[in-house]
Symmetry: C2
Subunit: 388 residues, 2 copies
């Protein structure tokens, strides 16, 4: 435990015990979120190499990848082969004293191994069991492998991100990671229900539903107005724009709906006539003539450098910011001021009573905590009480 | 209450009382998530027109927008002017019996109005008070208005989405909505802590931290390896691809790291020689020569239509899907099979003990529930117990 350990007592999930039997992103990111908030997350990994994400880019050898650190800091790792009877027995013992299990195997895999929800709840009636799937457990695609791009494509999310005449995969793995966020919400809601019922629950979250839920604006607009959002919708709906300066450095302006930032922008740029221009008079006009407005402004912005525009726009209270690379973002003065970047990743956005949640352990080596975890089990339970 | 009311008793947050004093997206989406899971969410709206999102695209008149429905179904609405002493008194009474308050005003606004955390906790010591901000409460940008595009730009998230030589705003409002998800996680974690402490808490979540936290892969890679992700990284890291068929219909293939789907793809396309091609032999090779691989495959895929490719790829177990528009997604057979689209929006991705969480009310008219909510307050409290 490092010096950040002083935060631990303040963290809201301190005392919560979580078993994560999950690989790659969807499940491990849930474990990460719970670990940041203070849960004791024990990552159960299968021999010989554990979570495939440890060495995603290589041949299975070599150092732990940044990908693995990104999703697994703050946890303990136990090397446990649940394909053996002894491993399953130990796994059940672990689960017996746990609050939460997270797994992202395909439907039926854990049940067949004898360590699914139906089996585990028999000796831990207050267990919250979270099963993350690609596309749920019914329907024509339930049995097929679902990777991030598949769920993004089928849910419509991809169509909101790139020009579909030349579709490109972009961004963080949205389908995987949104699913992790919804699954974390689901687990915590089930824990809340447990405070009144005393009972555990089986929680299921899938990637397709998560992508659709996140598209609530687009889905509801389609259902109610019949409009179909695509990658061009966001700018027009919100009047947000991307521009480049005289040397190609990008920046953003977000005018939103009110007249005030629009008029402030026109005055700041010394273009007061634009305010009354019939193409741009109302929010609806500016939305309809979005491309023209973009081009008019881009022509102006090409004349000077970004720092000068940022100062001018800030003074005029026009919502704006440089579009930073991830590297630049890490050293931005606001990011520094908030102290939100740790040694091995971003810190949690959750601040409780003035204390920012954060992990207090580095990402574990495979099986690093096998001995200490199994030793603590022995202390917890007498041998004859171990379930078979 | 409609026929979906039968689900209510199963929902995990049934019995939880939430006061939402929030506008537009970040705060209201938190209320939506809690309402879907069974919480009684009372949306406190200011006269004369309530949440600006009711009429975002117009002049303030006319019907409630799809945007508003997308973020506010499942709630009750109370018309309450907290700029008056009477309104503040009623607000405090509402909060006195609540579990959670959600607000997204700028730092200090609610405190100045006498209804901030410091004031409210005095008469509800178990209250969870969630304050959502753009950029936190310290640092050079803390006082500036932060809209979605501003947080996306400054956090680096935008740079992972589009080519920054011609930056475009795309997708759902990621900064707003990711913040809502993290804030929901924060609130539920604080509720979990309350079960042991009995105490409420102030929870703060900001848009900049949320965007950075969601970029854990990019941030950690930058910190550990010094690599800077951009909009081209995702395809290369995950070997996911977008293609178009003979008539321009888009589809996705996600090969990921293992050899198996890659070799299956080559055989399905009757291109077995590609497997041994030195440009594409290993995952790392295919990542390095991503553009070439894309072009080789695109030339093949241009010869035939998407339905035929989808059937062929499914038979070969190559993870793939059509890239659907949002409209097409709503009627996809898998989406229909999971029954995840309601009348007024997508349903919750959270399924607990086999029951999918969903809202049981339509989006409220402004002030629709003022009378019933205030009447229930009168029943709850005798007048002299009302705080001032």
């Amino acid at each position: 435990m490092n010096e950040q350990g002083s935060h631990q007592d303040n963290r809201p999930l301190s005392g919560l015990k979580v078993i994560e039997t999950a690989r790659v992103i969807t499940g491990p990111m849930v474990g990460l979120l719970l670990a940041e908030m203070g849960a004791d997350v024990i990552k159960v990994e299968q021999p010989p190499r554990g979570d495939a994400f440890r060495n995603w880019h290589g041949d299975g050898a070599g150092p732990v990848s940044a990908n693995f650190v990104a999703m697994n800091r703050g946890k303990r790792s136990v090397d446990l082969d649940t394909k053996t009877e002894e491993g399953r027995k130990l796994y059940r013992s672990l689960v017996r004293s746990a609050d939460v299990v997270i797994e992202n195997y395909r439907p039926g895999v854990m049940d067949k191994a004898g360590i699914g929800w139906e089996q585990l709840k028999e000796f831990n009636s207050s267990l919250i069991y979270c099963h993350i799937t690609g596309m749920g457990t019914s329907g024509p695609r339930a049995g097929l492998p679902t990777y991030d791009a598949v769920a993004q494509a089928l849910s419509g999310l991809w169509s909101q991100l790139t020009d579909c005449s030349r579709p490109e995969p972009v961004g963080p793995p949205f389908a995987d990671q949104l699913t992790a966020l919804y699954a974390t919400v689901a687990i915590l809601a089930a824990l809340q229900a447990r405070t009144s019922t005393g009972k555990g629950a089986k929680v299921e979250v899938d990637m397709l539903s998560s992508c659709l839920a996140f598209q609530t604006l687009a889905v509801t607009s389609c259902l109610i107005d019949g409009t179909v959002f695509d990658h061009r919708t966001r700018g027009r709906a919100s009047l947000s724009f991307g521009f480049v300066d005289s040397v190609g450095r990008p920046f953003a302006i977000h005018l939103s709906s009110p007249q005030k930032p629009w008029e402030a922008l026109c005055r700041a740029l010394n273009l007061p006539d634009l305010i009354g221009d019939p193409r741009f008079r109302t929010k609806a006009d500016r939305s309809t003539h979005y491309d023209e407005l973009h081009d008019v402004l881009q022509a102006v912005f090409a004349a000077q450098n970004r720092d000068e525009w940022m100062a001018l726009l800030a003074a005029a209270e026009v919502p704006s910011a440089p579009i930073l690379s991830v590297g630049e973002a890490l050293v931005d003065p606001q990011v520094i001021a908030l102290d939100i970047i740790g040694d091995d990743g971003p810190r949690s956005p959750v601040v409780i009573n003035g204390h920012r949640c954060m992990t207090v352990r580095t990402a574990p080596e495979f099986g690093e905590h096998t001995e200490e975890v199994l030793d603590s089990l022995k202390k917890l339970a007498s041998d004859d009480a171990l379930p078979d």
